[in-house]
Structures are given as structure tokens and as C-alpha cells.
């Protein structure tokens, strides 16, 4: 499963993308964020406030309860500030 990061999430994690293989009990976007936060100090910093993290699955916004099974690309990022 490919995960991509943007803005300060990318800076804190220290990479723009990676392939991860979460265990089977990680079934939703919220679960994935929690699981990533446990992967080390940089991840803990990036995901220290899970409620501000936004996610997209295959280029469409996905709230925390969205099931991630079948996703090709999951993006995690801060609230958007375009326009």
C-alpha cells in the first residue's frame, strides 16, 4: 500500500512517499494514522494530533472511518490552504 505525505506531514515524516504493510487489524484511515504514529519519533511528531490530519484515497477525500482495503494510494496531509 502506497502512502504519500504533503506539507508539514511530509516534512515531519521526512519523506514524500513510502510503501507500508500495516497488519490486518488496521482497517480504516483512522487506524492507519494511529498505526503510523507508532512507527518512531518522526511519525509520532507528524501524527501527534490525529484530528487535524486529512486523508485522501485514490485522489478523493476520505474521512477517518473510511475503510482502506483496496486502496492504491493513500494521502495524508494537513488541512488545505489553497486558493
Amino acid at each position: 500500500m502506497k502512502v504519500v505525505y504533503f506539507a508539514w506531514v511530509r516534512e515531519r515524516v521526512g519523506k514524500a512517499e513510502e510503501i507500508v504493510e500495516p497488519p490486518a487489524e488496521v482497517s480504516t484511515v483512522g487506524d492507519l494514522i494511529g498505526w503510523l504514529a507508532g512507527r518512531g519519533e518522526s511519525y509520532a511528531h507528524a501524527f501527534e494530533a490525529p484530528n487535524v490530519i486529512r486523508a485522501a484515497i485514490d485522489h478523493a477525500h476520505a474521512p477517518p472511518q473510511t475503510v482502506i482495503a483496496g486502496a492504491r494510494e493513500i494521502a495524508l496531509f494537513p488541512p488545505m490552504t489553497g486558493g
Binding site: F6, A56, H59, H61, A75, P78, G82, G83
Partner: protein
């Protein structure tokens, strides 16, 4: 014949004038053209912004803007929509974003342009990083932008 739609994400600056002119050129059915230009501010004296860097999510940005344009076309009787959003380095005084809407009457053109801007601010995957003498920082999302976007939600 569909409604002419232009969506562009680009690093280069754009010519607002040309985009607005293109919207009604050679047509006599357009009665109202509304444009919104978002411009990079320099900040007040003493806290000057040297510029912005706009990060975006390629692929999703186009898809998300396309979905909002499609929703605008479904909600208002529009005769043309243009959305251009820059990414990369942008200096104070330069353009960031342009939305142009055309309709036969002004209410639809105004509402659709506001709708698209509210959604670009809160749902399109772009992130602004401000550069100041003291360093660079990511811009925080503004609660008033979320409130502005929420008023378009069908109840």
C-alpha cells in the same frame, strides 16, 4: 454542445485579462462575467512576506477541482467556467488563483464564483508556505474559510 470549461494547474503566471476576454469572445449569449483573482500579499510593514511556496497533490488537485466545477455546472446555469491555480514559488503581488464564471444573469455568475473559491480554499489539495525574514512556516487553515464553504452544503 457543452459549457466551455478550462482547468489549469501551472507554475507559470497567467494573464487574467486574456482569460476573462476568452470567456465572452465571439459570443452574444453571455450577459455577466465574474472574475476572482487571488493575489500574493506582501504582509504589513515589519512582518513582510518575501513570497509563498505552494505545494500541491498532482492528480488529486485536478480531480478535486474538476468535481467542484461539475457541481457548479449542475447548480447554476453557467455558460463558461475557468479555474487556474498556480503552484511553486510565488512572489508578493503575483497571481495565485483565478476563477472566471459566465452566465446570462449576474446572480448565477457571482454565486458560482464564490462557491468555487470557498471550495478551492478548503478542499483543493494545496498548501501555502510563507517565507519571512525570520523563516518559513506553513499557513494555518482558517476557521472562517471552513464556515464559508459550509454555507454551500445542501441541508
Amino acid at each position: 454542445m457543452g459549457v466551455p470549461v478550462t482547468i489549469r494547474l501551472q507554475e507559470a503566471d497567467f494573464d487574467t485579462a486574456r482569460e476573462i476576454a476568452a470567456m465572452s469572445a465571439g459570443r452574444t449569449d453571455v450577459g455577466a462575467v465574474v472574475s476572482f483573482s487571488g493575489v500574493c500579499r506582501g504582509g504589513p510593514d515589519g512582518d513582510a512576506i518575501d513570497g509563498l511556496t505552494l505545494e500541491h497533490y498532482p492528480g488529486m488537485a485536478e480531480a478535486e477541482i474538476g468535481r467542484h466545477v461539475a457541481e457548479a455546472l449542475a447548480r447554476w446555469p453557467l455558460m463558461g467556467v475557468t479555474v487556474i491555480h498556480r503552484h511553486g514559488r510565488i512572489a508578493p503581488g503575483e497571481n495565485i488563483v483565478l476563477v472566471v464564471t459566465a452566465s446570462s444573469h449576474r446572480g448565477a455568475a457571482f454565486e458560482a464564483a464564490e462557491f468555487l473559491m470557498d471550495y478551492l480554499k478548503t478542499r483543493a489539495p494545496f498548501w501555502k508556505r510563507e517565507e519571512r525574514a525570520a523563516g518559513a512556516n506553513w499557513v494555518d487553515a482558517a476557521a472562517h474559510d471552513d464556515a464559508a464553504a459550509a454555507r454551500w452544503t445542501k441541508s
